[in-house]
C-alpha cells in the first residue's frame, strides 16, 4: 500500500512539474479526481488493520496535500509565465511613437466652422475676385472717390488711371461680393463670403496688410435691425461661447444705414468685433434689388482678429509665418 502511494506521488510529481497550465484540469482529475489512483487507494485504507490504517491514512493525506501543492504551483507558474511572455527588455511605460498629425490652419478652421454654422441657417457661400474693380470695391458701395470715407480703406492699387472705369485694386474688404452676388442673383439673398483682403498699411502686431474677412448679407422682405441683432448675437455666441454678450454701437459705413459696430463682452471687457448695418437703399439699387420691396442687413468681420480674441494671441503676423510653434497649437 505504502509503495503504491509513493509511486503515485512520484508519478504525479514528475508529470505535474513538467506540465503546462493547459493540462491543469486534466491532471487534477487524474490525480485528485474520484476515480484517481489516489482516491481509490485512500478508499481502501479503511479496510486495513488499525495501525496500518492510521499510518497509511497519514501518508495518504500528506501525499494528497503534496499533489494539491504541486497543482497550485502549476497554476502559479502559468500566471508567472503570462507575465513573462513579454521580453525582459519590454518597458510598458516607454512613450509612444508619435505619428505626424496633420492640421488645418486656424484661419481655415474658423472659416470652415462659420461656413458650417451659416449653412445651417440656410446661407449660401459666395465668392469674388481678390483683384477687384474699383467700382465694386468702392463706387457701387457708395464710397465715391475723393470722399473722406475712403480714408478708412488704405488701398493697394494694381492699375489706376484718373477717371478710368477699369481701375483695379486688391480688394480692401469682402463687401464687393455683396454687389457681385446681388447683380447675379435675385432676392431673397442669404450669403456669406469669406475671403482674403488687403490693406495698404504698415504691418505691426495688430495690423496686417493681408487678412481674411467674412462678409454676411441677408436680403428679404421685412428684414429688420432686430433680425440683424439676433443673427449677430447668435453667431458670436457660437464662436466665443454661449455666455458672451454682444452690443451694438452707432457707427458709419457708406454702404449700410443704420451702421453699427459690434462689441462682445469677453474676458472681462467689451471688445470690438466687427461692423454691420442695414444695407443702404443706394447699394440695394446698385445691386438691382428694389429697396421698396426688400431690406437687408450685412456684416463683415476680420477673421484673424476673431481668432486672436478667442485664443488671446497678441500678434497678427504669426498667422503668415512658417512657425510650427504657432501652427501646431490649433
Amino acid at each position: 500500500m505504502e509503495e503504491k502511494l509513493r509511486t503515485i506521488l512520484k508519478e504525479a510529481r514528475a508529470e505535474i512539474v513538467s506540465a503546462n497550465f493547459s493540462d491543469y484540469e486534466q491532471l487534477r482529475i487524474k490525480y485528485l479526481g474520484r476515480k484517481s489512483a489516489l482516491a481509490r487507494s485512500l478508499r481502501k485504507i479503511k479496510d486495513l488493520p488499525e495501525k496500518a490504517r492510521r499510518d497509511m491514512g497519514e501518508l495518504g493525506n500528506r501525499i494528497k496535500r503534496e499533489i494539491i501543492q504541486l497543482l497550485n504551483d502549476l497554476k502559479d507558474k502559468a500566471k508567472d509565465k503570462a507575465r513573462d511572455g513579454r521580453s525582459a527588455s519590454f518597458d510598458p511605460t516607454c512613450p509612444g511613437i508619435v505619428p505626424d498629425l496633420g492640421r488645418l490652419h486656424p484661419i481655415t478652421q474658423i472659416i470652415d466652422d462659420l461656413i458650417e454654422y451659416f449653412r445651417g441657417l440656410g446661407f449660401s457661400v459666395a465668392e469674388g475676385p481678390e483683384v477687384e474693380l474699383e467700382k465694386y470695391n468702392f463706387d457701387l458701395l457708395n464710397i465715391p472717390d475723393n470722399h473722406p470715407a475712403r480714408d478708412e480703406w488704405d488701398t493697394f492699387w494694381v492699375n489706376r488711371k484718373e477717371g478710368s472705369k477699369n481701375n483695379t485694386l486688391l480688394r480692401t474688404h469682402t463687401s464687393p461680393v455683396q454687389l457681385r452676388y446681388m447683380k447675379s442673383h435675385k432676392a431673397p439673398i442669404r450669403i456669406i463670403a469669406p475671403g482674403r483682403t488687403f490693406r495698404y498699411e504698415a504691418e505691426d502686431a495688430t495690423h496686417g496688410s493681408v487678412f481674411y474677412q467674412l462678409e454676411g448679407l441677408m436680403i428679404d422682405k421685412n428684414i429688420t435691425v432686430a433680425n440683424l441683432k439676433a443673427v449677430i448675437d447668435a453667431m458670436v455666441k457660437h464662436i466665443l461661447g454661449e455666455d458672451v454678450e454682444t452690443r451694438l454701437r452707432p457707427s458709419y459705413f457708406p454702404f449700410t444705414e443704420p451702421s453699427y459696430e459690434v462689441d462682445a463682452w469677453f474676458g472681462g471687457k467689451w471688445l470690438e468685433l466687427m461692423g454691420c448695418g442695414m444695407v443702404s437703399r443706394k447699394v440695394l439699387k446698385n445691386g438691382g434689388v428694389d429697396p421698396d420691396e426688400y431690406s437687408g442687413f450685412a456684416f463683415g468681420m476680420g477673421i484673424e482678429r476673431l481668432i486672436m480674441l478667442k485664443y488671446g494671441i497678441k500678434d497678427i503676423r504669426y498667422f503668415y509665418q512658417p512657425n510650427f510653434d504657432f501652427l501646431k497649437q490649433f
Binding site: 492699387w157 494694381v158 437703399r281 510653434d325
Partner: protein
Amino acid sequence: MKISYNFLKNWIGFKESPQAVADIINLHITEVEEVISSSQYEGVVVGEIKEINPHPNADKLQLAKVDVGHRPGEASGPEGDQILDIVCGASNIAVGQKVPVALEGCVLPNGLKIKSTVIRGQRSFGMLCSKAELNLEKRSGGFRPEGESAPEGIWILNNKLKIGTPLSEVIGEDSDTIFDLKVLSNRPDYLSYLSIAREVAAVLKKDFKPGISLDFKSKQGKFDRSVAVEVKDYKLCPRYMGRVIRNVTVKPSPEWMQRILLASGLRPINNIVDISNYVLLELGQPIHAFDLDKIKDNQIIVRQAKSGETIRGLDGCEHNLENSMLVIADSQKPLAVAGIVGGEESGVTEKTKDIFLEVANFDMVSIRQTSRKLGVHTDSSARFERGLSVLLPELAIRRAINLIQQESLNCEVSAVGIDAHQKLPDATTKIEVATDQINALAGITIPPNEMVDILTRLDMPTVLKNGRLVIQIPHYRQDMRGVADVTEEILKIYGIDKIPHTMPEVVLAPSKVKDLRLAVRRIKEILVRLGFIEIYLSPFDSGSPRAVRLEKPLVSHLTHLKSDLTSGITAAEFMEGNRPADRFKVFELNTAFVDVGEVLPDEFQQLVGRIKDEAAYRQIRGALDTLLAELGIVVEYREVKGLNGMRILADKKQIGEIVRVKDNDAYFSMKIDGLVSRLAGSKKFKPLPKFPPIKFDMAFVVPDRIRIGDILDTIATADILVSKVSLFDVHHLGDEGKNIAFHIEITSEVKTLTKEDRKRVEERIQNLLSERYNAKLRQS
C-alpha cells in the same frame, strides 16, 4: 476730436460722471477711442490711519495700517474697505488721522511712480504723502526715496473728509476728463462741441440751450479800410465772408479759452488765433485771420494757383502749389492755401493792429485733393473735406466777431461785411417719413411722440401728421435724406440696446456652395489625414513673367502678387522652438494670379506641398498619389529634361510638377481649378472579391538607367489577373545595376486561383521584363 468733459458738463448742466458720459457718447453718438484723465492726483485718495506699529528692522520707520475705502475689484476688509500696509518714515502720524494716500500704480505730480515695494523686509502698498510730494508746497531738494523720513511730515487732512475721496476733490483741483472721439465721415458736425453737446443732452433728455452769443457792435460812420473780394470760381468756393476789424489788441487769450483749446489738443497762440480756433471747436467752422497790412492793394482774390507759385505756410513748410489748388491771394501772391493752411507772412502776430477775418466755404473734393497732394492735414482741412454747410459761415463770423470784441474792447468792426456767394440754399428742408416705415426697419415699435421728441432735440423740429413725421432738416444735416437716416437717428438716441433679438422668418431655401470650394475643402482634409500641416504665406513676391504688379508696394521687394506659390513654400524657413525644423510635411492652397492682358487677372487655386524628411521625394509622390486616388483623379507624370522630378499632366496639359530638391527635401505643385470637373462626384462601390488573391514577391536586377515606373507599369499590365503591384525594395549593386523587388497580387473574379495561374503570371512578367528591360530575375 478731443472733447472736454467739464465743458460739456457746464454747458449742458448734468451730474453724470465722466465714465457715464463716455458710455453715453460711445453707445449713442460715436466711438470713444480713449478716455483721458487730466487730474494730477489720479490715484491719490483720503485714507484713515487705523494702526501704527514700529518697523521691526528700522528705528526710524513705522508700519501703518491705512483704510483707503471701498475699492471695487480689490480684496477688502470686514466693512468692505481696503486696508493697506504702508511703511512710513514721518513721525507726525497718529491713529485716527486722515492722510493723503498714493495708491499703487499712480504717478505723483513730481513724476514718482508708486509701486508696492519691500522696505527693509516689510512690504509697503502705497505711500502717505506730504504736501511737497504733491507739489502743493515748495521744498528744497529732490525726491524722497520711498520709506525715508519726510522731514516736513505727512499732510494731515481735515478729519471730516470721507475715506476714499479722491484728493483732487479735496483740494478742488480743476481736473478734467478728455474724450477722444472717432469722427464719422458722414458727420462733419461731430467735429464741433455744439453737435456733441446737443446729442449728449438729447440722450439725457435735458433741455439744451446753446446760448452762443452772436452780438457785436460795428463802427458807425466813416471806416477807412476795406477789402475787395473776388471769387473766381464759385464751384470751388461757394461762399466767402469777410470783415475788417481795426485796432485789435493782440495778447494771450483768457485762461478759460486756453484751457478748452489745450483740452482739445490745440496750442494757444494769441487771442485772435485762439478765437478762430475756439469757434472752430465750438461750431465746427474754420476761420482765418489775416494781418490787414499784409494784404497788398486791399484785394483778396480766391483763385487757382499758378504753376510755380509757392507759399510758406504757418506749419513752417514751403509748399509748391499746382494749378488745381485753390488759394487766397492778394493782388500779387497767394496768402493762404484755401481751407488748408494760412501763409506765415500774412498771419496775425503781436504787431498786428488791423485784421481781415475770413470765414468761407470750400468744395470738399478740392480741399481733400489739395490736402493730400501737399501732405498737409489740418483741423481746418479735416472739416472742409467732410463737407460743411454753406450757411455755417453766417453764424461763425458773428460768433468770432463777438468774441474778438469781448477780448479787444476798443477794436472797431467794419459795418460792412463781405459776403460773396451765389444762390444760397434754404436754411431747412422738409422730409416726411411714415412712423410705420421706421418701426418696420427697426423691428420694434417706438411711440410716435418719442420719435418726435428725439428728432426735435436733435435740432430737427418735427411734427406728427397722419402717422407721418414731418421733419425740418437743418442745412448742415445733409446726411438726413430718408427713412434709413431718420431711423438711425431715432434708434441711437432711443437706445440700440432696447431693440430685441428677433430671428428672421424666411422661406426655406437650400444653402449652396461652389464645387471649387468643396473640392478645396476635400483636398485639405485628405492632406491633413496624410499628416500635412496647412500654412498661409504672404501673397506677394518679387515678381515673375506675367505676374500682377502692384502700383506701389508696401515693402520694396514685394512688388507683385504671386503667380506661383511654389517659391514661397520652398524658400520658407520653417521654425520650431526658435530653430529651423528638420522634418515636416506642409501644404498651402491659395490663390495665385496671372496677368492675362485683361482688366482683371486670371485667379486660380494652386496647391503646393513640401516634405522635408528621409526619402522626401518618394514620400511626397506617395502622398500626392494617395490624394489623387482619393479624389478619383487620374493624372499623367512625365519626365522632362532639366527638371529634377516630373511634370504632372491632366488632359495632356501641364498642371503642376513634383520635384526632388535634396534627398530629404521635395515638393509638388498643382493647379486645382481644372481638376474640379473631373473630381469623382460620388464614389462607386466595388464588390468585395469572391475568391482569395494570391500574393507573391518578385525581385529583378536591371540596369540603372531603367525606370522603375516603366517596370511597374509593365507588371501591372502584364496579365489581366494582376490586381496590385508595389515596390518594396530598391538597392544599387554598383556596376551590375540595381535590385528592385515588388509585392504582386493576382486576383480573379471568376475562380479560385491555382499554383499554375501564379506560375503563368510569374513567367509572363519575367519574360516581358527580360525582353523589354533586360531584367534578370533574382531567385530567392
